[in-house]
Symmetry: C2
Amino acid sequence: MDTLNALTVFREYLTQFIVFDDAEWAVFKDHLGFRMLKKKKHFAEQGAVCNEFGFVVKGSVRYYYVKDGEEITNYFSFENELVSSYKSFLTRQPGFNYIQALEDSFLITVSYNDLQTMLAHPMLGYKMERFGRLVAEYYLICYDDRMASFITKTPEERYLDLLTTGRDILQRMPQHYIAHFLGITPVSLSRIRRRILRVAK
Amino acid sequence: MDTLNALTVFREYLTQFIVFDDAEWAVFKDHLGFRMLKKKKHFAEQGAVCNEFGFVVKGSVRYYYVKDGEEITNYFSFENELVSSYKSFLTRQPGFNYIQALEDSFLITVSYNDLQTMLAHPMLGYKMERFGRLVAEYYLICYDDRMASFITKTPEERYLDLLTTGRDILQRMPQHYIAHFLGITPVSLSRIRRRILRVAK
DNA sequence: CCAAAACGTTAACAAAAGATAACGAATTGG
DNA sequence: CCAATTCGTTATCTTTTGTTAACGTTTTGG
């Protein structure tokens, strides 16, 4: 996909938060970057400050921590979703997690500095603040739902939920990543799948 | 505490996000409400749209779900913290959780309508958008940390973390609420505490 | 002040999950 | 294309957690 199409897709995505008129878009557009991310390459790394947020035009990424030398995947982003090590990006402190492309991916990026410039821009400032608020609120709600599922549901229930709402994750992610995403080990997920199959028959 | 003092405390709290000059504050102030919440009374209820967010001047609240007839506490707010059923407040849809005062509490409140009025206010709009963004970002980071602890840590590790960072929760909340907050049952937390005591000796 | 309810601990047992290892199947990366 | 790695499942064993119930203590609310 060429950058022109990518921009069109991104602008369309943004309308759920904010609608830029052509003059505003012209300015906004100039602050965007494009980034090809080869499979297994990192968008963010532990110990480094994350200087960009991205929009996934094509491909997918996983977020993971390393604990006791082991990788623990805790999230994914696919096409038409944003991606960033949010805490690091927002606080300007080194992040704790990695973000890695799982396929050759293409992203539109906004650097922290460009974002600040736009937030302070006479023409764009108000809308950018609003955009930032609405995006943050959107993700706040996502986190809220996910926390609720950890507090009120068993791993098996979370997996059953995923069966109805997580098509992308189920179809495009290996099972051991999904296991950690659900808060359990791959072996345990394998057993849960068998339990469910037995009941289903 | 009288409302005048409460306003001073709230204004001071807000400075971590936004600083209002006196003219702005005069307008902002007019959109605030005050609410005494007797112990065990609810600030938000399952099935009802949450029409306000609050600032806890005095007291404390717990957030809980009801699952299979059982109450599952998943969060707390204390003095100098905000409180709301955020998803319901932001989406205008009925909420899934209850918020209940655990002591006689005093809150400053902002209704959804007043917030919208201020967001559209010529003088206040920009700062209010910014305020909203920064608050949402702040809570996003809180959720991010909490999710990470559920994905990467055991219940025992989460309890040990709480021992160093959760003074208010440990000292002011009954143990069975804390257990659910950690994602386990009260019986299990009791065992974890015993394990830790045995090791400590 | 007192009866009722709520709370924290412990025990006993069942269920689930973690750790480790083994195995074939699938994927991968030259 | 093939050797090496990764992946998903299964088995075994251990640890942890859930469930239920009992108990004494504390708190609560008339």
